[in-house]
Subunit: 529 residues, 2 copies
């Protein structure tokens, strides 16, 4: 497929009239060859949103099987892009081949998981309360299902050019919910975005859906994204990025005549608790696994373990020493963009210059001018952290802060003070269980996912995943961006009271023609089969 | 029970240090006898919130049966207040006895419904994705449940002194979700609030729960409410009231360091569509039933039918004539407060003075100085409504606007333009079904509840109810304030990855010791029994 650099607006592709920009090779910061990308203008936003709005009713009322097949088809078309997609994504993101192949598999599986969910009808949350004509006063028939909220704006994320981008989790969840999607492509991977965007556009055409089901806009700056979130036709927003970016979108939504949900995943340092018995028995293994996790993908995961908490002692010192040793051998890595690399460098220099912080060890220094990120491990006391909460701020990249707590009480105090997180991890042996049990209520309040004896960098796409968490990990801790529960962000409930049978949505008809799981008179209805 | 006018802060009762105020007889606007009520100050807010915060973990991890029994006990204690509660509520609200007895039954049933929901464990939405050790890469065990969000601030509403007040839907849902509650009592019914608040306080004591599970604060003004919503310990807000009030609370939340969900139910004119065949066959019956609904409880329901849409013609004229005739005989009624009465009078005078509006008929004029509200029926053309959207603004009270549409297209245009609503009602005969079917997608986008051949003023408390709707009907159209689904507003998901069995919440243990409904590997698990 030849890249053209065009905006995808419904069934059309056309050159934007705004500022031009080029894709950039992440490793060299050199502009990649053609095409030139052009930013959209407000007229493009209006048109994409108008098409999305007009597609909404037809798309959301499509039979489940057709919507599911459309999602499956997007997955197949992304896979069919083959090596061209992987190679383009490698250049634009600097991520290695195996990682991107894995991410592609995850992206396709995610689309298929939502197709399965659509077929099951579970997300409809169908409920029936039959009429009680004998009751005084009589009750009329009441039925309940969830429907899509309306057109959704999705922002591609820089760090997952496939799985959190054009056809990523938010797009898949919104399309599964019956919502048209307008994507604001991330300018760090416009070619990858165009390839995937055209695959979705083709799938829309193949399925003979209203063209407005999908559009994709480019912008070198922030204006298009701001206009999208402000547009009256847009009813929800999915975003993964910085805290400043997420807060800016929240502010735009709050200023709308009709505020809308903004699901922004923003920042997390993903505390890991090194429990005493685990440190005693296996500090060295833990330290080596930790260094592998924190430097994986050059540390560019939302779930990177950025804060390692332990209680002072011999085990803690062995952990620190082994981690320092391990990080020493880590090669400097390519980061996603020059901007991210410079923010990382500034972040680690700020830490290194802080008198409360010890620089435990650094990875291999990058060659001069090589535009690589050096891994770093810092160490602070819990007292310093409690005195200066910026020491628990996220620095996006391959670094982490080891925090020495005087005792279990101080560890508890630190946990009570930290901000909301995507994940918190317990490293524990059997003897640590009572102490861990006592901490669990705090962990539940602070994070969307609690792990034991693993590292949070892998995020399974499944029914039981929560990739979310209290503010500021995300703007809305009631939600997840990964897993089947992500569909809920783009749905709202509707009650049908005393409607003639012919007017009822199929899922709510007496005979249950779609065979969906339902609650009937407050009980789970036995489903056929 | 003797009223004392004290704040209820945890297990204690003490006099507020802020401005004093008195309960007012709604019918006469005369101050009721003792006690004097005193407003809370910021220190009281801090203390109530600190107690709520410290009660949260113990309360939310209570065995389901204990939490359920606590809810049942609140219901029993409210019933045990007997006539004293009804009489006090009659004086303070001006609502008639039968209505308040019905509301008390609804309030108690609502608490018991949530107790049943807690016992079932359904709101946990428990999910298990078992480990797949053979898969490459292997998958670890993942489990999912929902937990309470934290302490909730609930604002009592003036128009339902029991069912949407101190022990109303939001309090019941929050307590069921495992969240402590701090109520800001409505100053229009402080005695009713104190009676119910003390019943809850007694139930907390009887159940030996942490005292912070419930507190209640008085305030003659808005400062206490504002401080509550701004308090860092408060994690969600439930409010029913004016659009200005709801928007003010949303703004306070948005300005917090950690924004929180605000569930504000604000305004709705609850359009009713008078379909042509229904008008032809039964315009007169419809008109009489409509007048009964619009004047019920002096029109002080969120779901009052405030906008009646029909297509010009003979049936529409019969409807208008009969409605005018029927409203002519309606007695002037007592409103909840003097402020609400004056706002109503100003609202109807604004309509009456608008040259685009015809005053079709008025109910019986109130006697001079009697502080009663006169029912009114207005009539406008759809063209006028489309030219001036303020004609579709809510005027809270016994009035409604009859809108004449030139044809089905104009009716459709009006529907497409109206704001989000709690309800939309179809009055239809069999012959109207195709036209209604074509309108249904618009209705689903505009309202939380769609009714046929009834009036929206009754709101069933059950599994399939949605009392919510797109902005500005509410601040958050993803939610309902009535029915079991209301519990979701106060819950958030947590994922447990690879946790030792002993650390898992009971609902997620392999043997399912609580017998809750779960999803296992993506499928509904058969529950015992």
């Amino acid at each position: 497929m030849n890249l053209t650099g065009e905006l995808l607006i419904g069934a059309n592709a056309r050159r934007g009239q705004g500022a031009e920009f080029h894709a950039v090779d992440a490793a060299t910061e050199q502009a990649l060859q053609a095409p030139t990308y052009y930013s959209a203008k407000s007229g493009d936003v209006d048109q994409a949103c108008a098409l999305a709005e007009s597609a909404f009713d037809a798309y959301r009322t499509l039979p489940a099987e057709r919507r599911a097949r459309f999602l499956d088809d997007i997955a197949a078309r992304i896979e069919a892009l083959g090596d061209a997609l992987i190679e383009r994504a490698m250049s634009e993101s600097g991520l290695p081949k195996a990682r991107l192949e894995g991410e592609r598999a995850r992206t396709a599986n995610q689309l298929r998981m939502f197709a399965t969910l659509v077929r099951s009808g579970d997300a409809l949350d169908a409920r029936i309360e039959p009429a009680l004509p004998e009751r005084q006063p009589p009750r009329t028939d009441l039925r309940f299902q969830r429907i899509g909220v309306g057109p959704v704006a999705v922002f591609g994320a820089s760090n997952f050019p496939l799985a959190f981008s054009v056809a990523g989790g938010d797009t898949a969840a919104a399309l599964a919910a019956g919502c048209p999607v307008v994507v604001k492509a991330h300018p760090a991977h416009p070619g990858t975005s165009e390839l995937v965007g055209r695959a979705i556009q083709d799938a829309v055409r193949h399925a003979e859906l209203p063209e407005g089901v999908f559009s994709m806009l480019f912008d070198a700056g922030h204006e298009v994204g701001a206009a999208l979130v402000a547009h009256p036709s847009i009813k929800a927003v999915g975003f993964t990025g910085s805290r400043a970016g997420g807060r800016a979108l929240m502010a735009i939504s709050n200023a709308r005549a009709e505020p809308i949900p903004v699901y922004a995943e923003m920042s997390s340092v993903n505390p890991n608790l090194l429990m005493p018995a685990a440190l005693t028995s296996r500090a060295e293994t833990l330290a080596r696994d930790f260094v592998a996790s924190v430097t994986l993908g050059c540390g560019q995961f939302c779930t990177n373990p950025g804060l390692m908490l332990g209680i002072a002692g011999e085990g803690f010192e062995r952990f620190a020493a082994t981690a320092a040793q391990s990080i020493d051998g880590v090669q400097a890595g390519v980061m996603l963009t020059g901007g991210i690399l410079r923010a990382y460098d500034a972040g680690i220099e700020r830490f290194a210059a802080n008198p409360a912080v010890t620089t435990l060890a650094r990875g291999k220094a990058p060659e001069a001018g090589s535009r690589r990120a050096q891994a770093v491990l810092f160490r602070v006391s819990a007292k310093s952290l409690l005195a200066d909460h910026t020491l628990a701020d996220e620095v996006f990249g391959p670094c982490s802060v080891l925090v020495e707590c005087a005792d279990a009480d101080e560890l508890r105090t630190v946990l009570n003070r930290i901000e909301g997180q995507l994940t918190i991890t317990l490293h524990l042996d059997d003897a640590d269980q009572p102490a861990a049990q006592a901490l669990l209520p705090i962990l539940e309040r602070k994070a969307g996912r609690i792990l034991a004896n693993g590292f949070p960098t892998g995020v399974e796409v499944c029914d039981a995943m929560v990739h979310g968490g209290p503010f500021p990990a995300t703007s809305d801790g009631r939600s997840t961006s990964v897993g089947t529960a992500a569909i809920e962000r783009y749905m709202r409930p509707v009650c049908y009271q005393n409607l003639p049978a012919a007017l009822l949505p199929k899922a709510l008809r007496d005979a249950n023609p779609l065979g969906v799981h339902r609650r009937f008179a407050g009980r789970h209805e036995r489903t056929p089969g």
